[in-house]
């Protein structure tokens, strides 16, 4: 049996050893091994929006007969559908399809915003980017189109957003 006296050199050395081991474990895993989040010569395209689509149908003026059928406090002269259009998106990179999808409106009565967030890792360099979106269910084709030649530096993030205040598709 080792003597448990705190001044026994073996005991002290043992303690130092295990405190040291603890320190080494903490120190090492606190910063290592390195993690490569993005390989070199890769850039990132982020597609993200939070956008209210157009109403799914036309508003229409109620006829006097229609109005008469409603409760007196509900007799608004114009009726608009609450439901919003889903947002359709198609992205091509150098004429190759990169993404195609639909962001449905949120909410039980589908009257909320459509949101989407996607990330795509692409080789850095020069690309032809084509973004098409539709925010109106009454129009069959994509009603917003943007084509742009982009040059992506390694690790650069390119953001594709959809914003009314920027007149639709917005590339940054």
């Amino acid at each position: 049996m080792v003597s448990k006296s705190p001044y026994n050199p073996l005991v002290l050395a043992g303690q130092a050893l295990f405190y040291g081991l603890f320190a080494v474990i903490i120190a090492y895993f606190s910063t290592a091994p390195k993690y490569t989040h993005l390989e070199p010569e890769i850039s990132l395209i982020k597609l993200s929006f939070s956008y209210h689509g157009e109403p799914v149908g036309e508003c229409h003026k109620r006829t006097p007969e229609e109005l008469a059928k409603l409760a007196p406090n509900m007799r608004a002269p114009i009726s608009c559908p609450r439901e919003r259009s889903p947002i359709k998106v198609k992205i091509d990179l150098d004429s190759q399809p990169l993404f195609e999808g639909v962001a449905p409106p949120a909410g039980l009565s589908k009257d909320g915003t459509s949101t989407l967030y996607k990330r795509f890792e692409v080789p850095s360099g020069e690309h032809m980017l084509s973004v098409k979106m539709n925010d109106n269910a009454r129009i069959k084709d994509y009603n917003m189109v943007r084509e742009e030649k982009v040059t992506l530096k390694p690790a650069q993030i390119l953001v594709i957003d959809l914003r009314r205040d920027h007149g639709g598709i917005f590339i940054e």
């Binding site: 448990k4 120190a27 939070s50 967030y117 993030i157």
Partner: protein, 524 residues
């Protein structure tokens, strides 16, 4: 034995070997394995203390926070820098000891029965520790913070909770506002406060919880962290830039391993892993497990309201109520849901003394499976039957090294539910009834299945705690040798050594005889 049971048994034996090895180096009071909960608390205190300073000197604007942290890391390295590193390394240490604490409680089988409460309330602590720590990385707002914040938001956005994806807050440099940043700072203070509250709940059913390590362990740990701080100070990565992806990072794997795991799988995959593991931990107490023994029972006529059982109960399962018939007196009462059926209270009760002359010994608080009366009868019977030059009585514990193997012609064995059930007067009684020596054994301190049995027994036998062993008992005829379940050979060696020693002393000719009328009637 099922695969699960043998896995647990194997883990337990390994753990106990490691702990016994550390006992030889650190002593049981300074043995980190035996005080992982206390160490976790200690790291939390260090984090809080250093955090207060770091918060005071922090500028919380999006632009300033990085600069101010870099300022105290480099310009003020001798104070701010050291405190920052301490904050970081204590947080890493917290994760390590918390996970070891979980693993240890698991292998010791401390997740079911009356302990379900401590186990279940431990599980949210893991989430809170992680939430507190990861939030801390965002605040630095370097590339690592940017990476972690965005990865975390991508993870949370998988849940249908935000109407607007949280990730959009980090989309472009313009999107990030000072207000959002103040929210992050607020979270990094608020979540740790919730953690403290949750810890208070975690310890609700633990009496005299071990929440601060012994002085040597505390100083040793602090010194280790300080050396680490000087050798490898914590540094920031480059300033965050939302136009660029952080590429290669020195990540803190203790906290941030969840991000690589998410990119390796998917946000849904990480949710499946995290909720799956959490559910597994929460459901563990429902697995089949041994039935608990009947709980302690109070005998009001034999309780004088001395509160010793109340003071010694390791799980706060005893309350003192006003005595229904004697005004001004109190009466012990057991709360059934909290009682662990350990018997430590029976060992504490002054009415448990075997010297009482009544034929049927009834104590103030007793264990139905091992009543004090049955113990007295067993002891008398076994000691009377002993033969040999020296006669030994061994008191052991069912959870520790199995004393039943020690029984022989000259050795009487009494196997207790917990050594804490042993009233010290039984030692004196055994010596007076014919034993030449008494060996007391049980789990090592910190292994005690009921936390405090070993400590209280040690203190009662050495006269530091009531009920104490009377000073007239010759100390050289009592030996205390703690041994965990795998240490049978050590225990055998201790017994042999004790027997040899007793032989040199010879039989105790001067021992006072049992003097109760009852004994005299029996022995003439």
């Amino acid at each position: 034995m099922s695969v699960f049971a043998s896995f647990r048994q194997g883990g337990l034996v390994l753990l106990q070997r490691i702990e016994a090895f550390f006992d030889a180096i650190f002593g049981s009071a300074g043995n980190p394995w035996r005080h992982l909960g206390a160490l976790a608390f200690y790291f939390i205190w260090i984090i809080l203390a250093t955090g207060i300073y770091l918060f005071i000197v922090l500028d919380t604007g999006v632009e300033d926070i990085f600069t101010s942290i870099n300022y105290y890391t480099h310009e003020q390295w001798w104070l701010g820098g050291i405190l920052r590193s301490l904050h970081r390394y204590a947080a890493d240490g917290l994760v390590l000891v918390m996970l070891l604490h979980l693993v240890r409680e698991f292998f010791y089988g401390r997740y079911y029965g009356f302990r379900w409460f401590s186990w279940i309330t431990g599980v949210p602590l893991i989430w809170l520790v992680y939430a507190s720590g990861i939030g801390g990385y965002w605040l630095v707002w370097d590339q690592l913070g940017q990476f972690s914040a965005i990865a975390s938001m991508e993870w949370f956005d998988w849940l249908p909770i935000f109407s607007d994806p949280a990730t959009r807050n980090f989309l472009t440099p313009g999107a990030l506002t000072d207000r959002f940043f103040s929210l992050l700072v607020f979270l990094h203070i608020g979540i740790p406060l919730i953690l403290l509250l949750a810890l208070w709940v975690h310890l609700q059913r633990i009496a005299q919880a071990d929440v601060f390590p012994s002085r040597t362990l505390a100083l040793g740990t602090l010194a280790t962290l300080l050396v680490l701080t000087l050798v490898k100070p914590t540094l920031s990565h480059g300033r965050a830039d939302l136009l660029l992806v952080p590429t290669v990072l020195d990540i803190d794997w203790f906290y941030l391993f969840i991000h690589p795991l998410m990119y390796l799988t998917s946000p849904a995959g990480l949710w499946a892993i995290a909720t799956g593991l959490t559910l597994l931990l929460l459901l563990l107490p429902l697995l089949p497990h041994p039935q608990q023994e009947p709980i302690a029972v109070v005998s009001p006529p034999n309780c004088n309201g001395c509160r010793r059982c109340f003071d010694d109960c390791p799980y706060g399962a005893i309350t003192m109520l006003p005595h229904p018939h004697k005004p001004g007196h109190q009466l012990a009462s057991v709360i059934p849901e909290l009682c662990a059926s350990c018997g430590i209270c029976a060992g504490a009760c002054p009415s448990s003394t075997p010297f009482r002359s009544i034929e049927q010994l009834v104590t103030g608080i007793d264990m139905p499976r091992q009543p004090v009366n049955a113990l007295r009868e067993e002891m008398e019977r076994k000691i009377t039957a002993l033969a040999g030059p020296v006669k030994i009585a061994v008191f052991g514990c069912e959870c520790a090294a199995d004393v039943r193997h020690l029984g022989s012609a000259d050795t009487a064995v009494l196997n207790l539910m917990c050594t804490g059930l042993l009233p010290p007067s039984f030692v004196e009684y055994a010596l007076r009834s014919g034993a030449d020596g008494v060996l007391v054994t049980g789990c090592r301190e910190g292994s005690c299945a009921y936390r405090l049995g070993t400590r209280w027994t040690e203190q009662r036998l050495s006269g530091q705690r009531e009920p104490h062993l009377r000073p007239t008992v010759p100390v050289d005829r009592l030996r205390v040798a703690w041994a965990d379940s795998h240490e049978m050979s050590c225990l055998k060696a201790s017994l042999d050594d004790f027997r040899e020693y007793l032989q040199t002393l010879g039989a105790d000719e001067h021992r006072s005889r049992a003097y109760t009328p009852r004994r005299i009637a029996q022995n003439g």
